[in-house]
Subunit: 320 residues, 6 copies
């Protein structure tokens, strides 16, 4: 007698897969996995971090006098690995058509080449982000501390790489790279978002920035800020319309404090300041300061509630 | 002379452990660790992901024509590893009683067997979750992208596995599996929560769903939504009463937008829509649309505040 | 012909690095990395967790009768590894001055020695945190479950270690250790914050606690609570003034429910209860219960919106 | 100033590589490594060992009731990995010709398919080898001990796999697999050697068996036995003639004791016994017992030589 | 169509396994692997090396002032791991009988306990071996070099550990440990061999020492020395008689030079010196010097043979 | 009660270590390991193999067009790692003297610098070795096969690196590197041996070449050849005299067949051929062919001995 009924479960699982594949109209044909791999992209990004900041994010035993050797070797390896993933995405996208693999591969190569040539510009933008964090946070001790510790900077490294791939027609690779940062930092920036130089996200957990958001230069946002969509228009057939501009435009030098929610294709004018927890679905003029109306509290007389031995009627928002 | 006073610190630490053990009334008896292990469960879940979605989350070199071999082998290994952890939980729970190890092990086996037979159903539910995400998000390019990238889907894979274990009397294993997803996604679903098919969490960071929550079919929630308890009743002796229904019931096809907080055993009727940031402690009828009353902003005249050179009286919610 | 123009990109990247180094006035001198390493500190913390809780967070094959051997060996290794990192931080800080390496190394040793002697006290504080979580959460099954599963406890282990290092003049090491916990839990506690015993954070995602916050004993907070600064004063030259007290003081036995935001150097008096989502920039007296004024909802007539086939004008806060 | 003159050495090494490539008439063309990889083949063999002996050389957590799942999954993975290496060998061999990659890949597939179908026969032969060792060695405690411990059995697993690949036109893969065993055991069997069932090599270090050797059934050899070539004929142009039969034929049930050297295309008749250290370049009839003529020793009078304080004229063969 | 006929091969392999199990009269019953594991024992030995020589073979970051902590922790871990393997061996040995697991486990514990108490003696013996190597080899620069580099010393560490296990009734564990050294050094010492202190093997490749060999103190041997059996007596039933003394006795201070072969239960008297390549099947008196009789060479007139362009009739012993 | 008496054994082991340290007159002072590390050197050699043969022994994903980047980066890393080991050796050697660390470190740097500049010459010599193997072995299919598979080539890569270190005053590093090859190939070449270009060792197991051996160009040797010392002269005080020339001189184009033993400071003249198993302690003239005198066999009448059922009086040299 067997311990588990493995064979029966295997058969049942095959049945469910079969249903799914029929639903998705997938042919059951021999062959391996045809999707880009999260692990492979994680390694590419890890290597590119070292390429961009060799002495601070590269291998610990690197020495300044041989930086270029390392950068060249690591760059070449990362680009070839990225090229392999790019091919997978483009072939996957073309899987239902009569695909010309040679043509697809040429497109993948062109995209990765273009990506590679943007790296110096990306490094320059990231330098501006690091400086913005250093200048904007009284707790920052040095630019190196910022690069090593700040989750907002990590999210921007991923975003600036992902955004290039998104622009170059590789949205799936871009999305995976964004989600790697989301998992590590709690900051969820869609790779489509356009973000100017010297962008600083402090603390960052819970920040969400949507696909068509446009952010100017020297903008600063705090944790739990949402730059989201207000509604999802659908076409006549009831399908979501894709690609429409639906997220905010944030002009230069705007500051958005923690927990603020800005929804829809509104514009925050240059230098505007949006206070914490503000809920905003309209544009605001340049230089405006928006703060939440004084929230009304009810203050009750002191009770004898104490943590651990709380009175039975304590008001709780915890989920426990 | 030694560099550090290691021996003294070792003794002092032993002293604190001794105090703790006395406080907890633990016997100092020889023996190894008697608790389930986070790492072991992480590996079990990793393997079960491959069992459930072999061609997308299984080993990269897998080929469709030999899926079943892989599924059978991996399933058997995962179930035996899970069985070992289940034994640890049940023995731990029974540690103060006169425990009959044979009887405990039989219960562990029965639970893991029952768990194993639910896997095909779990796969079916997860397929419905993947489709819900694909249909609900204009940015989703394909069902495969959803499975690979969406943190909400990852959280649901963990939850649907953890919920079975919770139901089968293994709440500690369930909790560890839930917390693995919480750490990776910022989504905190208690394994006790009952969730219907085609559930979609977008973005997800900060979502909290409590132990006795009941969620219907085709429900959609966004980041930072809380389905929490309003109060923690205590019994006559002042101890927290456990297991009482204290979290919301969410009926089919409800949508809850980002940052909304629903507290207590209230019911959101079928098809209700709860707007962003809404704070709700009462039931709402089917089909209702609840939106935050227009929040009052104060708009001040433009100032010359700029990030990095902010005016001294800028209102900030950052913690820096 | 080469596949990628690696040499050109390497040169361009060198150019950007050169610009940065000039901007930062860094000499190009041969030598290796001179910064503390995140990976090394992660390993130190991992080992110290085993030192503090050998039978629960130490190696799985450890047995109680030889705990002390393990604790002594692991402690010695962790302290020497920490000492190496401490030297790196102090030398880095002194990099622009005429530094006397021997004097710096002596300071590093003194700091790590003092740190090591605080470990028994830290263990005692953490025991109180574990008990607070167990007593404060109706879902907690045992103190061991709390230690294994609760992200709030993980964050406090990191914080209590990091806070000692911060106090001892090693703020960069402290910050890296805090950010490791932030990445794993979504809880962002600045290592400067002073936190009394029996502190409990439930769920935790999105919690932010600032550098000069002071928290008493037996305090409890829930997810997404911010204890932040209200404004960043600047000096005559326009530079941020550092180190000023700018975050709240929270007295003993205060409870702060999810999403509440407390800003500035205000005081929450002993036993106060702050309700969910409250926005607070003023002090409250001991024992007060602050709750959000009843938020006004607009309730519209039922519509036929359904997830996946939503009506075109659905109000959404998702960023998709 | 740099620590090492890395750039100069890099240039000089490039110069030497250039010379070599010119000597070998290799074009300098972009592209990756085009050779089979030792590590990849080591993994293939490791997996095939588990396929052949799942409960003894497979994964430690395997259970008998799900052997077939494991065998199927591992076999499929190993064959695809082997196929990739087979393509590399065949493309490499054809590198100077106008190669039709499709035709080459078809040949690789045919070879690996044929190989795969021989695995049951190989397992049967290896069973006979294990039994031969168990029956031939008074120190063997069980057949399982033999499979786990005996280097001669390890060498035969490698040889029987390598010999099939050699036969199927993949001599380079075969050679790499043989050398892996050589490194692990000191037993050097050329993959071309034909070896009958129930072959037993005891101790094994220093055994060398040449490419055209033919060995019957139930043969036994001891350490340091050589079955070698006597001369290497050359053709008119002075090149070594390849493939000529030049190693011994050993008929059924022959025993060859340690250190014996048999050279050239001689035949050891059925059941012959060759004594230790015998040097043999002629055929011997069936059933013959060949022993070294009594070796003449010179016995000198006792001296007072002692290890560690040896007399100055000690006769030594050590190389120290 | 599938690439390989995996299912057919899986079935065929199952058939062969079935035949083998019938031949071996093994029941097909569910269950895991019941044999000691080479990898587990390799790790035990690796740890014990660090226990025996903490500052030279222990972890690189160990410091002398905390040696004892390391030794205690590592020893405890190694002994428990060894105990698990000992149980496997004893249960395996008893697999055909009505086994009382509790009694078997008690025997395993007793054996490992006895083993553990021999470790200080073993360390003392190994110190004598290290000194013997240092004193006996003009090329040895220091005792530390000897311990780090000499394969003969590595083989003796394994042997002295394995011999204890052999004596304590765990011959399979002992054998596996011996074979690990054989693979690493080419030195094949049966764990049954009794070897006195200050034993030195130089170079070592090809040395074979049999199960019942007895070696005195301060003995020295060189590469390719065999201390073997001359004949394998069989009992009336034709089975090999096991355990009979059949290998040489080597008295104190004997030296045996490279390639010498000593066979059978002969005695080499105290202080005897056996020259290189000597073949010996008789006892020799104390103090005797045995050298090979002058070997007769044939010297032919010089030829014009050259490596790489050798004349066709070159005499070769290579197997190529 | 504890399972093992760990504390007692720890104390006893400390006692033995104490005895050893007193015997070796070692002070018990705090501090870490002061010896070069085998693992570190193994990694250095592994990297240098890639530096020397980037496309064949370097990383599998390397491409020819970026070889130099890899070579430069890997070389720099390997040299710094080697420098650290060189410092350890020189400081260790000077441990009893009043050591000036700065002066020692300068010597280490000078040695590693000189070593680095020899690498192009070493690569050239190794190319000649590869060609010699290809030309000398009828079984060699290509020069790449030779580099990938031949243990003799592996041994020479290690030797040519080790010999440079030996020459530069780092004999311990050299020895460790040699022993790494010895373990992998069974070929034991002392790093002091001087070996000319185009040296070929076939099969190799059991080859031993002593410290003061001098080998010319285009020499070929087979398995189990010894170039050893005949006697170890001692000085008046009875100590071994070190460094005296005591191993053979082998002139250009000599061939030495398997198992031959050449002892003492004899000279094998240019082009000499030494037959298999020859035992030689005298010089031979250029061009001479030395073969073993015809060995006398005794041929007995056929018996009925068979492996597995051997007659009781079979002559055996196996050690079983």
């Amino acid at each position: 007698m067997t311990v588990f009924h493995v064979s029966e479960i295997v058969d049942a699982l095959q049945g469910v897969r079969q249903q799914w594949r029929e639903l998705q109209r997938r042919a059951l044909e021999p062959g391996g996995r045809d999707l880009p791999a999260r692990e492979a992209l994680a390694e590419v990004v890890e290597t590119l971090k070292g390429v961009l900041f060799p002495m601070r994010l590269g291998p610990p035993d690197l020495r300044q006098e041989s930086e270029n050797f390392y950068v060249g070797h690591a760059l070449d390896a990362a680009l070839h690995a990225l090229l392999a993933q790019a091919r997978l995405e483009l072939r996957y996208k073309a899987r239902h058509a009569e695909a010309d693999h040679r043509e697809i591969d040429a497109r993948a190569l062109a995209a990765v080449r273009a990506f590679s040539q943007r790296l110096p510009v990306i490094r320059g933008l990231l330098d501006s982000d690091v400086l913005a964090a250093f200048n904007g946070d009284p707790a920052a001790g040095s630019v190196d501390e910022v690069l090593l510790c700040y989750p907002g900077v990590l999210a921007m490294i991923h975003h600036r790489l992902a955004h290039e791939l998104y622009r170059l027609g590789l949205p799936l690779l871009a999305r995976i790279i964004s989600e790697l940062a989301h998992a590590a930092t709690g900051i969820d920036i869609h790779p489509g978002a356009q973000i100017g130089s010297a962008f600083f996200i402090d603390h960052g957990t819970g920040v969400v920035i949507g696909e068509t958001a446009i952010i100017g230069e020297r903008v600063r946002v705090y944790q739990a800020v949402t730059l989201g969509a207000k509604r999802f228009p659908r076409d006549a057939a009831g399908n979501l319309e894709k690609g429409l501009p639906r997220h905010p435009i944030v002009e230069d030098e705007v500051v958005i404090y923690a927990g603020a929610t800005i929804l829809g294709r509104v514009t925050l004018g240059r230098g505007a300041v949006i206070g914490g927890n503000v809920w905003l679905t309209e544009s605001v003029p340049a230089g405006a300061h928006i703060t939440q109306a004084i929230s009304r509290h009810e203050v009750r007389a002191p009770a004898h509630e104490r943590p651990g031995t709380a009175a039975p009627d304590a008001i709780a928002t915890g989920a426990a």
